[in-house]
Amino acid sequence: MMKLKSKQAITGIAFALPALVGVFVFYLIPYCISLYYGFTLQNEFVGLENFSLLMRSNTFWLSMKNTAVFSLIAIPLAVAVPFLIALFLSTFERFSDFFSSLFLSPLIVPIASVIYVWQILFSDYGIINGILTKCGADPVQFFKGKWAMALIILIFVWKNCAYNIILFSAGLKKMPRDVMEFARLDGANRLQVITKIVLPLLRPTTFFVILLTVISSFKIFREVYLLYGMYPDENVYMIQHFMNNNFANLNYPRLSAASIVLSVVIIAVMLVFFLFERRSSE
């Protein structure tokens, strides 16, 4: 019996080994190296010097602020909108596979492919502004100021709705129909059914959707870069811009310090999120 167990353990480790080696070589070990860089300046231990320099950097705080604003608006939207659409879709008796494929297309189509369409639609003399002026409204500068952020959020929601709708729809499909019918008969209105019955039953799905949306919200830089380049309007200057610009001048101490600070922040936020999820599911 003992022998069987140890054999199992060896096989298990052997199977996990390639992934572990990859993760250690490209993530864990170099992360430790960057810890070293974070606390040194020209091979000298400087304590928190790099961090205080980082904290005094205006661009760092600007990028933090923009990323926070983006996440706080875009993530809830990219979860709520698909949920509503999925609810709407669930009211159809039969819903063909064909339609759900159509919903996935924004996910499948590469960002770079549609970026020119966005430019034509939203540029200063673009199609949307043409329609706006025809309707008598003032044209909007979508690529500048507050609107730049709004445009990015719109594109993000457009792109990420796709998969989330599919996930929510799958979750709703599994929902026992008779429970809802009973509640309806008991006199609960539609909103009550959704908040009291549907949402709690959908919790695991929602959790997974939020997680996926958060992960893809980290990649919004791609759209911003392709639309605005390396030095965008200050309202959409993201953390990735800050990092990339520091890569450009190879400022390792600052990069390492930023990487450490950000990883601590994100791990903390996500731990709270996980704990909250566990607490509420109990």
Binding site: F88, F99, I108, P110, A112, G126, Q240
Partner: protein
């Protein structure tokens, strides 16, 4: 009667929503069949007038495709860069993650949970954090400015392991135990019993990781300085500036590989249960 109107309204709303999602894509597809002349006429930026909505080509033309396929060798070379990055990433990621996820769900070994915790942490760390360690290692391995610098870190992300583990958890231990008692080897169990049951997970992993590397931007502009090695995901946007006449066709061509992969897996992918 009232019911009828409501259901008509519902269908109208459905069509509206679907159109909203599809419009940019339809627009790109339709515009790709215009001649380069028509494109430059329609979309030359000017401060005189607003661009108009120009969906249907005046004359159907394959000129953009002819230009992209036959007269722009550079475009096709960059297209291959994208393939050369994405295919290895998806292949390595799928294979390595299958083994690792199997190990983390169905085997017991020391430190298992602690090691898996590392994967969960890595899963949620964004590229702005992980690119710094990636860069340090790539530089030490002197892989900067090669396609490997894009392939290797992306191939070993934690995403695949976490996703597949989520699917494999639902396979009952008894199934595997029974196969083991029948004398099946661990690799045999993985390929004959486990993987066929998590097809949805494999499909989702392949599609999502394909799309992720197909859209790669931030790593490219930091790790690669030779523009000949840029994948289309970055280079395509530069065409808009230099060669706007063929941008739509290039976009359509660039869309084909992920679309084919998606169509191949669409059944499993849509029925994904989590």
């Amino acid at each position: 009667m009232k019911k009828r109107i409501i259901s008509i309204l519902k269908y109208l709303l459905l069509i509206f929503i679907v159109l909203l999602f599809l419009l940019p894509i339809i627009y790109m597809l339709a515009n790709s069949f215009m001649s380069t002349e028509e494109i430059s006429e329609a979309y030359t930026a000017s401060t005189e007038h607003y661009l108009s909505f120009h969906l249907i080509p005046d004359r159907f033309s394959l000129e953009q495709y002819y230009q992209a396929f036959l007269r722009r060798p550079q475009f096709l070379k960059l297209f291959w860069n994208s393939i050369l990055i994405t295919v290895p990433v998806v292949a390595i990621q799928t294979l390595v993650s299958s083994f690792a996820a199997f190990a983390f769900t169905k085997f017991r070994f020391p430190m298992r949970d602690a090691l898996f915790f590392i994967f969960i942490i890595l899963l949620i760390l964004p590229s702005w954090v992980t690119m710094v360690p990636n860069y340090m290692m790539i530089q030490r391995l002197s892989l900067l400015d090669t396609l490997w610098s894009l392939i290797l870190p992306s191939a070993f992300t934690a995403f695949g392991v976490c996703l597949l583990r989520q699917y494999m958890r639902y396979i009952p231990d008894e199934t595997i135990e029974a196969a083991r008692l029948d004398g099946a080897s661990a690799i045999g169990i993985l390929f004959k019993i486990v993987l066929p049951q998590v097809k949805g997970g494999i499909a989702a992993l392949m599609i999502l990781s394909f799309i992720d590397s197909w859209n790669m931007v931030e790593q490219v502009i930091v790790f690669i300085s030779d523009r000949e090695k840029y994948p289309l995901s970055v280079a395509l946007s530069e065409y808009a500036g230099t060669d706007p006449g063929i941008v739509f066709a290039c976009g359509v061509i660039f869309m084909i590989p992920p679309l084919l992969l998606y169509l191949y897996h669409s059944k499993e992918f849509k029925n994904a249960k989590v």
